[in-house]
Symmetry: C2
């Protein structure tokens, strides 16, 4: 598993401690002990604000920018809908069981874990290999060659594990003697386990429903109404932001694999005969890193970097609609503060795609858990609209008025109705012939390109990408969120608890509220440096200090989180600057062009010393 090597001071447990202390999130049912393990997450105020701000930027970047139709669909979904979509039969993981304890494991995860540990053991013991006991020849060790070839075998299985079905996993368990590491008992199974939470709708006990595993199905069911709302114009997109649910067999990895999680899904409907995107030219020069299927099949993980326009020209991406969305996803992730060096786009292997997808690319972000899939971008073709249409007999199609009528040739079956009425069936009953007819409307089922965002994973990756420790003081951690996503934009600190500051703080708080700038007052008795430090851990980008000079001339200092530099200006100017900074309209560098850095040490007031000494 890859590690976050570019952040050498990174220590996950220290970050986790910070996130807990500052209440970004925690397990949902912690005080209830056992049931509280990390399956359902509870966002504290900063985590919740961060999620909301990410979603606000997301809506501006995708929904408003292209007039997508955001709708609200329900979570509880009847059996029939998800049976038709294929989720009842195919949305499952393989689960195996230790018969001695009843403990269950996700088969692919436990196999991967055990094979990885075997590789590690062989390498550590100088490639000696496992001891095989109880055989005819007693204890046996592999030769060096045998051991190397065995490692290659393990690596091969690990790299292809996502593509194994139940039978394949079963063969691996048997052939490679996969046992529960805790008990050394051979695994039973695997059996398929459907990942949807089931429930009964209504009081009669005759109607099963599921918590939706994705938001997409609710969008497809009302395709006709959406098209009509869009005045019949194609292409267009619908959007749902909301919770989805997966009853994971053994959840782990914190926010990365939750049973309940927020998704933001776009379903972009497009003519299958023309997948060109009107605005592709706006993004064609965006440089991105690709990990293609071919590279992966060669067993490598080397990305190739190129402009997205080139990736289309070289045939790496099938069409400009898919390419447009990949580039827009890239731009979005950078905009909210991801590290560009830790972002790549990986193409799915044929055998790892969901049952409905014909092409899929993932935006992956590098974290201390390795490369994490945070956004999937699949071409679902006409799969879903076709199956729902067939099941319900309700056409889910686009009718396009042709620029000029078109002649088409069809095979038709002619039936002699009179003979049917007489209930005689001679061979002359049917005639089959080729006819030409002229049509002026073309009818087609659109294809669907689906960018699907896992908001919890994005949020966690963003936290890791934003985290650093001040080199001059290892106790001071910082979360460098860009102002547009930071949970709180501005900290308000009175220099001391002198009551002269109270009305000024109240007034500033009122002004900031009017401007819609989220802020927090820290009037605790802690030293001012300590108060700033605490808010660096919350990722608060700006801080206003009210001091004795403020009482005299109304001026304020404004501090920037990452550089800890300050400027001093009038209240009016500070408020204008902070508004523009918070909305991402200007940067701190822009501010420093207009205002000199303020670092006059005020020595006559004892409380202030701490601030200027520490910073």
């Amino acid at each position: 598993m890859a590690v976050n090597t570019e952040n050498p001071g990174f220590c996950r447990s220290r970050l986790e401690e910070l996130l807990k202390k500052r209440f970004f999130y925690c397990p949902s049912y912690e005080i209830y002990g056992g049931i509280g393990s990390f399956w359902f997450v509870y966002y504290g105020p900063p985590g919740m604000a961060l999620e909301q701000n990410i979603l606000n930027v997301w809506r501006k970047h995708f929904v408003y920018e292209e007039n997508m139709l955001e709708i609200g669909t329900s979570i509880v979904t009847p059996h029939e809908v998800l049976e038709t979509s294929g989720h009842v039969s195919k949305f499952r993981d393989w689960m195996c069981k230790d018969p001695s304890t009843g403990e269950v494991f996700r088969a692919d995860h436990i196999i991967k874990e055990i094979l990885l540990s075997r590789i590690k053991k062989r390498v550590e013991s100088g490639l000696e290999g496992e001891k095989v006991e109880g055989g005819a020849s007693g204890t046996k060790f592999d030769t060096l060659d045998e051991s190397l070839s065995r490692i290659r075998e393990y690596e091969d299985i690990i790299s292809r594990i996502d593509g194994y079905d139940g039978e394949g996993l079963s063969r691996v368990i048997e052939e490679y003697d996969i046992r529960n590491p805790a008990t050394n008992v051979r695994m039973e199974g695997p059996v398929g386990f459907n990942l949807m939470f089931a429930t009964e709708i209504g009081p009669k006990g005759n109607m099963t429903g599921y918590l939706r595993p994705e938001t997409a199905q609710g969008q497809f069911l009302n395709f006709n109404k959406l098209l009509e709302f869009n005045n019949g114009k194609m292409p267009f997109a619908s959007v749902v932001v909301g919770k989805s649910f997966r009853n994971e067999i053994s959840p782990r990895s914190g926010l990365l694999r939750m049973r309940e999680f927020t998704m933001a899904e776009i379903e972009h409907y497009v003519d299958p005969l023309n997948k060109d995107h009107r605005r592709f030219n706006e993004v064609e020069n965006v440089k991105m890193k690709f990990l293609t299927r071919e590279i992966q099949m060669s067993g490598k993980e080397e990305v190739i970097e190129m402009k997205i326009g080139e990736a289309v020209a070289r045939g790496i991406l099938e069409n400009t609609t898919l390419a447009y969305f990949l580039a827009r996803i890239h731009l979005f992730l950078i905009r909210i503060g991801m590290n560009q060096e830790k972002l790549r786009f990986r193409q799915h292997m044929n055998n790892e795609m969901a049952h409905y997808a014909s092409v899929c690319w993932d935006a992956e972000l590098l974290t201390s858990y390795g490369w994490i899939e945070c956004v999937g971008c699949a071409d679902r073709a006409a799969y879903d609209l076709t199956v729902h249409s067939e099941k319900t007999k309700e056409k889910l199609v686009v009718r396009e008025l042709l620029p000029k009528p078109m002649e088409v040739t069809e095979w038709v079956v002619n039936v002699d109705k009179k003979k049917i009425e007489n209930l005689k069936f001679p061979s002359s009953l049917f005639t089959i012939e080729q006819v030409k007819k002229t049509i002026s409307v073309r009818e087609y089922i659109p294809n669907v390109i689906e960018p699907s965002f896992g908001i919890g994973r994005i949020l966690y990756s963003l936290i890791e990408h934003s985290y650093w420790i001040r080199s001059d003081d290892v106790d001071r951690c910082v979360l460098s969120f860009p102002p547009i996503v930071a949970p709180v934009k501005c900290l308000l600190v009175p220099l001391s608890n002198n009551s002269a500051f109270d009305p000024i703080i109240d007034k500033l708080s009122f002004e900031l509220r009017q401007l819609g700038i989220s802020h927090k007052v820290d009037d605790s008795s802690a030293a001012i440096g300590r108060r700033y430090s605490r808010n660096d851990e919350l990722g608060t980008p700006f801080g206003i200090t009210v001091d004795f000079q403020t009482v005299n001339d109304g001026s304020l200092t404004l501090r920037e989180r990452d550089t800890t530099r300050q400027i001093r200006a009038s209240e009016k100017e500070i408020l204008r600057v902070i508004k523009e900074l918070s909305e991402g309209l200007i940067s701190w560098d822009d501010v420093l062009k207009d205002f000199p850095i303020f670092n006059k040490q005020i020595t006559d007031i004892p409380e202030i010393t701490d601030l200027y000494i520490r910073e």
Copy 2:
């Protein structure tokens, strides 16, 4: 049942048709036929935008205004939590069944419906009463007096029906011979039906969970962390906005009783010994309508109108925190556009309160379904924090440093440990005595005041309160949403499909996007009056027309929805005005003070005639 008498032209089926046509909302699974009846709702783009805008105003009005802590909690909740909260045993309705068909009914609803129809029948037939057949005396009619007294009996049951338990309902069914109107078969039951959707968590089948019936429990469980995040300061509030679920026995009434619905809940934690609200003086003069418990017990529905300060002074409201929130709820509902004449605050009767509430007031809105509870404001006292604390042994308390140490007197039990060790239990083992001790920290479980908003009900009531029909044209309906909540703020219409307008529309659309003003371009070929009319039905408050004069001098017309009046000004001025209007900073009347009404009829361009003739 009261009707929307102040809106005489109101016809619900016509409104429903409009809502369907303009895709505000629809049943979730319509194309799947049977399962699609109105239990789960699907919001189309205007409904979704309306919900989001209501929630945005809500957040500004409540959350940001008072620095409430908004958090995110999970929907799936383990059995133990909801068992402790009392929901497993008490969150139920009574259900009765027609044994001949298996059909189930909510007992209170069917009783009420049948008694109402009996009253109606008696009144219509000149108070003759039901025919009683098959008795010893054959067909029998009540006398006038008997009939009047019977009507009073029915009315009495109806008014108290919310307070009946299973036994009471059973007695009514038997005594009043309640039968299924469709089959004339006597009802069986009632039996209690728990309204929570149940599901299994994880693959082992040994962990039951429920979809949360309210968002409150998730907030209580993390009280300690919230208090710490708030630097230990009291009072404060936590907030959750999200979906809750109730597995209704027989849902009906559209958006008013859904199985899945959006709630916005505030849990305000307060010292039980001091429920004064710091900011009550800001609202004490707000005039509101109250329907007190006493008035209801007298069998009347007359509200008394008074300032909220007076209601506190007269003891109608227990404390100023409860009063503060009722006034703030009132102001919020008016702000989003509710008709003040159709808003009242009703006190719960003792027997209708939820199991956790000690006091409860509902904000009720008058709709064509009668008075609808849209916001509940309950005092949950220390109920929830106490039960979770007892169950988990985790103290959920506030520790308050006393201004000066305080002497308290307690009874203590002294145990002689030595004797316990010897396992002898003589009577001298325990001594009980009164002791005095000095404490410097007071520890208490806070009380919780809970304003709880049903967003779907608010949304529906707002639609009814905003709906009217132009007196000069009965085909033209309008939804007069205030600009701050209107789904789309501005319509952009080119006068015709002349291509000279395209770049102007594109540029305006870009500018509006930069300003964050949601807008819609209607460049369809429909007459301009028709296009405006269509958007009146969407509640779009403003419209910009681009005409030939725009091509020449860049000026635009801006139309207001309710008055259909227009002004004409430069692009810059129009954009500024529309921004301020959309944010509710100025009103249309303010605009008319600065700009003359524009009504110059342009006759040389044929397309425009329609606009000025129709409007």
